[in-house]
Amino acid sequence: MKFSDFAVEKMLDMYKNHSNQVGIKVKQAHPEKYKNYVSMDCITYVLTVLKYAYEKVGDPNSQTVFSDGIAPSGHFKGKYVGMILAEKLVKQRHWDAIYVNPDVVHPVDALQEHNFTYYQANKLCRYHKVPVKYTAVNYNTTAKTHENFQELVPHRGETKLNRVDYDMLKKIKFGLGMSKGGTHTWLFSKGYVFEVHWENTAPTLYEKSPLDTFGYLDSIIMVPPDGKSFIALDALKCSKTKKP
């Protein structure tokens, strides 16, 4: 078994079996009631899965997975930050990042940040500080009947639907997702997002949903080295000229 196999194994095990867990926000609000429960949030889910997989494949650096995401300085000094881990996974452990966005022209919430992150990914091959190698976009475009259609870009018609790249994503066995610059962290497998809602208890603590209906729009999916052969997307031009 490879890294991705172990990661999926743990990801599904936690998704299916979590009767002893509760969202971290719930436990903070009711510490006595949930004192015997393990608190869970999106990053803890991700880290637990990564550490399990790294240990299973016998990676000598598996113990550093957690510290890889610790902010060394700045506002979050000493705290764990998903985007720092993401940057290290790509730059040091040779994961590949795929930028995803359901509609790069007419975001359904009419926020310009989604268009801008696409611009950065496509032109500069980066998502915040994480090097990006591929994009898979426009897989769930905003209908012209939607109230926010053309709210941001009035002169452009409906975005052409691209389900081909989206279908390619369904071949990826395992990935790590980050949305809105690390605001939310999740796991990915064969077209589905696996995530934890920190304000919930079972049975809604964990959720599995198709990427094309996922609430967050601009995101990246990082694929470990053993899953690269399943990425049937064209590499961005800028990724060929830039060192990761």
Partner: protein
Amino acid sequence: MKKLLFFVILPLLLMSCNTTTTNIVIPLKEFGPSSYSEDLLGYAFWQWNNHGDSRPREYDINIVVYRNTTLEKVSKQYPVIEAKEQDYRYISYDEIMPYLNQTIKEFSAIKENVFPLYTEQLTETKKKIVDALGE
């Protein structure tokens, strides 16, 4: 008498117009895309958490730009209170102005001009700061 009024009252009036403001509070979202501003102003989720919610939402994060005062004073005036979801971040005038100038320049240089809202917003933010704290 008219001359007296002119030379005495006018300077007083002008003095009263001089800015004594030492800070201005502006929402984080008015400082451009978070991928630009996060190094200087932090991430776009609550500073007491290391990530945000699992569902997209707005975070009412505000930036206190200060000049001719100290960080200690402004942080007392605008404290961070998690229980009230009161998230202030502080930055000096001298630190934020180079960022704004550089970012406006970069957005203006994008040939496609596909982000006019950012350019307008950043220019407006700079104007707010200059109007409140001076050139």
